[in-house]
């Protein structure tokens, strides 16, 4: 199995496996999903390690912490916004004396191909004082997944592997290294390295800061400046290296160049580069992280260009073309665009999707109300905001639907309907349901249960459908106000009538609209 054409996600999964991975945990999220899918596919054939979907990124991270405590190599993977959910264990884990190697893979989505923001996880790594590796192709993704475990165990700290969409879903050749055996179970020896009560945490925080500077020094030692003209120095990070290389040949004089793939940022190397150069251009995927840092560490300021200064576009992905103006290169010419301008083709719900039928009955039940709120959530059903449904009013983050509908109702905007998918309900919906029940809020919760995590490619929902009703009852929703209906056009009139009745109920109602995802059924038939 050597010299394979692998996606970055697959390369990371295999790199971790070959480094002796014992346990992997994740919640699906584009563009990180294929990491766990690759591991589960191998686990189902070979066994010998754990690869589990979890309720959310926080629970996944906490399981990984436990596996590290047990002395085994463990990985937790998520998309960038997943790290917001896992931020508490992530930031606090930095203080611990990590035992088995703990690698956190975070997949950022510049350009928002399938996300609600462009946040750059390198800020999180620096905020937490966690070392971070950033690969530039699938081979590096494989190698750095392996290196991350070594780094984690050597320094007794978690290590972040930061990737972006084009790396996660880009394929290039990978040559494998040897497969290492797993660590035996060996509980962390230093109990006070795993207890963050204040008196202990104060000491561990000091240790962490010292550790972080030591690793910065190591990154300085391994940074190599490619010498070139003093007129311009170029700093690249991650995938920006490839876009720079694509254009390098067109430059009349070769700039000096420093590529950064290991964080904390090597201060010494950057100062050295600046001392030899009249001007620095920073090319990085994500936010102007290195650029902003650079402005703070030079004793003699020189002009610095990048996203913050405006020479490089501040939004969206870098491309081999949009960095050319910053390099002083003319635009490349392709064929003229067609005079017939193709209209956009936005994503839409699949033909026959149960969510479409749910939005139809929801919309009709709300007819006649002058004001109302429909707060939805993250998933395929987000597309209910678009024509022909135009039903969804708000989409913010995982779980916001229930919380926002409850808050809107408490503030006097009624009827308020929270619309959530089954997987998102398990991820972040339950605490909001508890809040609503405990305060007796007049709010209607519509759970669109398609028995899958659809948008990310139909991963199984963590619990079977029957459990949803039991959970609503268990937290105290009145049994007269928990309903399971079939999300199908043949049930439309009955569903409208039922929802209308519940809109008149002054307390919490939960309506579970069930029908299996069309895509998941197709996938199951193919298998």
């Amino acid at each position: 199995m050597d010299n394979q054409m692998l996606m970055g996600d697959e390369a990371i999964a295999l790199g971790a496996l070959h480094a002796g991975l014992s346990a992997a945990f994740a919640y699906p999220g584009t563009p990180s999903t294929e990491i766990m899918e690759t591991l589960q596919e191998i686990a189902s054939r070979e066994g010998g390690f754990v690869a589990q979907w979890c309720s959310n990124e926080k629970t996944a991270f906490e399981s990984a912490l436990g596996a590290s405590y047990a002395g085994r190599r463990t990985m937790v993977s998520m998309k960038h916004v997943g790290l917001n959910v896992a931020a508490d264990p992530f930031i606090n884990s930095a203080l611990l004396k990590i035992n088995g190697g703990l690698v956190v893979v975070v997949a950022d989505d510049p350009g928002m191909h399938s996300s609600q923001d462009e946040q750059d996880s390198r800020w999180y790594a620096d905020f937490a004082r966690v070392p971070c590796l950033e690969p530039a192709d699938s081979q590096e993704a494989y190698d750095m997944a392996r290196e991350a475990f070594e780094l984690s165990e050597k320094n007794a700290c978690p290590v972040m592997l930061r990737i972006v969409t084009r790396l996660a879903h880009g394929r290039s050749a990978v040559v494998f290294g040897p497969r290492l055996p797993q660590n035996p179970v060996s509980k962390a020896g230093d109990r006070w390295g795993w207890n963050l009560m204040p008196s202990v945490a104060r000491r561990l925080w000091k240790d962490l800061l010292a550790k972080y500077e030591r690793i910065r020094g190591e990154n300085d030692a391994t940074s190599a400046i490619e010498p070139g003209s003093a007129d311009l120095a170029v700093v690249t990070t991650g995938l920006a290296l490839q876009y720079y290389r694509e254009n390098e040949g067109d430059l009349a004089t070769k700039p000096s160049h420093l590529h950064i793939s290991r964080y904390p940022i090597p201060h010494g190397a950057l100062r050295e580069l600046a001392s030899r150069s009249k001007r620095i251009l920073v090319l990085e995927e994500g936010y102007p992280f290195v650029e902003r840092y650079l402005r703070g560490i030079l004793s003699t300021p020189i002009p610095i260009s990048g996203k913050e200064s405006g020479e490089v576009p501040a939004t969206g992905e870098l491309t081999p073309d949009n960095i050319r103006p910053a390099l002083g290169l003319p635009a490349r010419q392709g064929l003229a665009p067609s005079s017939l301008v193709p209209p956009g083709r936005p994503p839409q719900l699949c033909a026959g999707c149960p969510h479409g039928d749910s939005f139809s009955f929801l919309t009709e039940a709300l007819e006649g109300h002058q004001v109302f709120a429909v707060n939805a959530d993250i998933g395929c059903y987000t597309l209910g905001a678009l024509p022909p449904y135009n039903a969804v009013e708000t989409v913010v983050e995982m779980g916001a639907s229930f919380g926002m509908a409850r808050g809107a109702s408490e503030a006097g905007l009624r009827p308020a309907v929270g619309v959530i998918g089954d997987s998102t309900f398990y991820h972040s919906g339950i605490p909001n349901l508890v809040d609503a029940v405990s305060h007796g809020t007049n709010v209607k919760f519509l759970i669109l249960d398609n028995a899958t995590t659809g948008m990310t490619g139909a991963q199984p929902t963590i619990m079977p459908s029957e459990r949803l009703r039991a959970i609503a009852l268990a937290v105290g929703v009145g049994s007269d106000h928990v309903h399971v209906v079939r999300a199908h056009r043949t049930e439309h009139e009955a569903n409208v009538a039922l929802l209308k009745r519940e809109l008149d109920h002054m307390g919490v109602s939960v309506i579970i609209a069930f029908r299996e995802c069309i895509e998941a059924l197709k996938k199951a038939r193919k298998a």
């Binding site: 010299n3 054409m5 584009t30 563009p31 999903t33 294929e34 191909h113 399938s114 192709d137 969409t165 084009r166 790396l167 879903h169 880009g170 394929r171 290039s172 050749a173 995938l239 290296l241 490839q242 876009y243 720079y244 290389r245 694509e246 491309t319 081999p320 073309d321 635009a331 490349r332 010419q333 392709g334 064929l335 003229a336 665009p337 067609s338 005079s339 017939l340 193709p342 209209p343 956009g344 083709r345 936005p346 994503p347 839409q348 719900l349 699949c350 395929c380 597309l383 024509p387 948008m455 990310t456 490619g457």
Partner: protein
């Protein structure tokens, strides 16, 4: 040698399989390959785009620069028009003629076909019809690979081997149907 291909279509048309076939054939011939695709939201009936880069030297960017593609291979005619600025001066467009009209403002099909035919090097193919005649309506994407074969810097035998490899786990009938679609495309 470098050969950049824009593969475009609408979610669910099997564009990723085509990318895999061409990439494997190129790898088998000892060439470097980089491929970039986007998963997730855009796959739900939206426009789908993959970049495939083949070279005998190192490939840097995972995405194709403007004006650099040797070929735009489109599974849907409107989508072909979207990526013309990526096409190099001497590049070609090969597009399936049949539309996917899942948007309200889909332009006049005659005008789309005319715009494609007006390009210096273009080929419009009734890929669905040819695939059906070859015995598998779902193999339209392999008709397009066949039609692209003589443009690609690859041996037909390498592409055939990659098709066999990709479909072998689905059984001989599926392999045979895809191969027949590929051959039908080659004859165009």
């Amino acid at each position: 040698m470098k050969y950049d291909i824009i593969l475009c279509g609408v979610g669910g048309q099997g564009g990723i399989s085509v990318s895999v076939v061409i990439a494997r054939a190129a790898m088998a011939e000892g060439l470097q390959v980089k491929q970039s695709e986007v998963h997730g939201m855009s796959q739900r009936g939206g426009e789908v785009l993959a970049h495939l880069r083949i070279s005998d030297g190192t490939i840097a960017s995972p995405t194709i620069p403007l004006g650099s593609a040797s070929l735009v291979l489109a599974f849907e005619p409107l989508e072909a028009l979207r990526y013309l600025p990526w096409l190099a001066a001497g590049g070609s467009v090969i597009a399936a003629a049949e539309p996917i009209r899942n948007i309200a403002d889909y332009p006049d099909l005659g005008a789309i076909h005319a715009a494609l035919k007006a390009l210096p090097r273009s080929l419009l193919i009734d890929a669905d019809r040819i695939a059906k005649e070859a015995g598998n309506a779902r193999a339209a994407n392999m008709v397009l690979v066949g039609a692209a074969a003589r443009h690609l810097p690859l041996k037909a035998a390498s592409l055939e081997a990659a098709i066999v490899e990709l479909f072998s786990r689905k059984g001989e009938a599926v392999v045979a149907a895809n191969m027949k679609a590929f051959e039908a495309g080659r004859g165009l």
